[in-house]
Amino acid sequence: MGSRRYLLKKILQAFFTMWFVLTMNFFLFRILPSDPVANMTKAQKLTRAESAALRIEFGLDKPMLQQYLIYITHPFNWGLSFQSSRPVADVIGERVWPTLLLVGISTILSTIFGVLIGISSAWRRGSRLDVNWLVSTMTFYSMPDFWFGMMLLLAFAATLHWFPISGYMGDPTATGWGHIVDVARHLVLPVTTLTIGYLGEYSLIMRSSLIDVMNEDFVGVARAKGLPDRLVRRRHAVPNALLPIVTMVILYFGYVLGGAVGVETVFSYPGLGKLTYEAIDQQDFPVMQAMFLLFSAAVIIANLIADITYGYLDPRVREA
């Protein structure tokens, strides 16, 4: 059976890519001719003793190859944040959940609505609705996502006061249903920002994919068999048209994460994106490196999931 080999091959590829990312992370701070510790501590003012201590901690006194081996065998040793002197892993741990909520909900909503709108656009190809939608999509695609968030914040939170202007929750003591509503109110604007930005793209891809599939012979055969149009669409056209969407949504995942950085900053939403922004601001290199690894790992895993899902959906791929 080709599926098991396919699965193994994809997992192996993922590991290989992750290794490449780790290696890149290692060398990025050592590519410049100057001293890596000096690079990293540009913003801080350290005494010679502190510098020396850091150097030993980072193992910079050892030969390069040994450094690399130590690094590669301890991929989860992320060190301490410069800014707070707390373990980076802890700092990240506190911020994971809000970002997961934001990115997760946005991806689900933009995929579902993107697919639905794409299907109805393809069905009404050339109509006024279709053309208007195409133009809107192009416009949203040209907008910086963080700026769109700023405008939403300005309009709906700062001016109209419909939604809170920042944060993740207003009342830390709320529990149960109250807590959920509180968080939801804070999520509305950020989620809208992230969703709309990518919804358009997905709808366009679905639309062209469906148009291509509708021209295939087997759709004509289905109709000739006596199937009503909506079943032709649902059973034959759409399942085949969905295949490229799977890859596309995952391909864009990297961009969505990037968008989350800007959006969380705009809304002061305490997630990983805002953490990244703060790390840039404070030149907190350990945090920045950890975020680089985390983001890359997330995308690699997402790609793996996409490959597996695609293999499950399209039997042709498994054999290849």
């Binding site: 012979d217 087997f218 000739a224 068999k225 199937l227 054999e319």
Partner: protein
């Protein structure tokens, strides 16, 4: 009574540049159990007719005339009626069967789907086993039902398409270039299969192709089309051996016989291309390419003149001969 009667069929596609006539007045009768061949080059309208019989052409296409299936005019039917007629009374084997199967569905399920659509009781088990029967009927092992289309060869896929076409016991099957995309050896197998099935099940069959020699083998009657019209019609062997229209002659001569030394030395293909449907020549549409054309051919349009036993030909030469014979 004929199972299929086509009267004065005119079909024009809607395009940005205006309506494009594809079929310009076709009459055709197909009796129960008769195999009729429809021959001609690409673009002569034969596939269009195939699509029209089950109303599978794009919505904006202009169709006038009458297509009677078992006495009822298909063009007048409501959608519900049409959908129930599709496949159960007339089915079609599409050109390019290589892409006629849904890539993400098992082939057995696709055949069963055809059965279930027309089964008011939606008995899935019965449909499944009937699908397996059909697969065996087309000389494939029943376990092939679990395969996906990409796991089958071209010939096997075509057999599945045939099995699918027979799923609802139709009275007439339209085979649109069923062997064109296949290797020559496989072509012969599929042709023999079609012949056997037609004989065993007493089906009427419309066989569409550009290869005249194939039709002689399979058909009772052949109709040759050019630029949207039938230019010659008659019993298969007669049309092939003694063509009464210059186009039929050229079509038949275009396929070399193995061992025919005279052909090897002087291939007799026909020069030029079929006319652009928007710019059909005046008079006889074939006259620019016709080796036997004379002065009248560009002026008067020929109709189908009688040309022998059950034969007709739309050539002014035949008309001339007929007149001479009566004088």
């Amino acid at each position: 009574m004929s199972i299929l009667e086509i009267r004065d069929l005119h079909i024009a596609y809607s395009t940005q540049a205006g309506p494009v006539p594809a079929v310009r007045g076709v009459d055709l009768d197909i009796a129960h159990g008769e195999v009729v061949g429809l021959a001609g080059e690409s673009g002569c309208g034969k596939s269009t007719i195939a699509g029209a019989i089950l109303r599978l052409l794009p919505k904006e296409t202009e169709i006038t005339g009458r297509i009677s299936l078992e006495g009822e005019n298909i063009l007048d039917m409501s959608w519900g009626q049409l959908r129930s007629v599709r496949w159960s009374e007339a089915s079609i084997i599409f050109q390019g069967a290589l892409h006629g199967l849904n890539p993400v569905q098992r082939v057995g399920d696709q055949i069963a789907e055809a059965i279930l659509i027309h089964d008011p009781k939606k008995n899935e088990k019965a449909a499944s086993s009937r699908a397996n029967e059909l697969i065996e009927q087309v000389k494939l092992p029943a376990r092939r039902a679990n395969d996906y289309p990409h796991e089958l060869s071209g010939g096997q896929k075509q057999r599945i398409m045939i099995a699918m076409a027979l799923a609802c016991d139709p009275k007439i099957v339209i085979a649109d270039e069923p062997t064109t995309a296949l290797d020559v050896m496989v072509q012969a197998q599929v042709l023999n299969l079609l012949k056997d099935l037609q004989r065993d099940l007493g089906l009427s069959l419309i066989f569409i192709t550009h290869d005249l020699s194939v039709l002689v083998d399979v058909c009772d009657k052949i109709a040759v089309m050019y630029a949207g019209r039938i230019v010659e019609e008659g019993p298969a062997e007669a049309v092939f051996e003694t063509p009464r229209h210059p186009y039929t002659k050229a079509l038949g001569a275009a396929f070399p016989e193995i061992g025919d030394l005279t052909y090897r030395m002087s291939p007799t293909g026909l020069g030029g291309d079929p006319p652009d449907p928007m710019l059909i020549p005046s008079g006889c549409s074939f006259h620019p390419r016709c080796p036997s054309a004379f002065a009248d051919c560009s002026g008067s349009e020929p109709t189908l003149y009688p040309a022998g036993d059950n034969r007709r030909s739309a050539c002014l030469l035949v008309d001339q001969e007929n007149r001479k014979a009566t004088t």
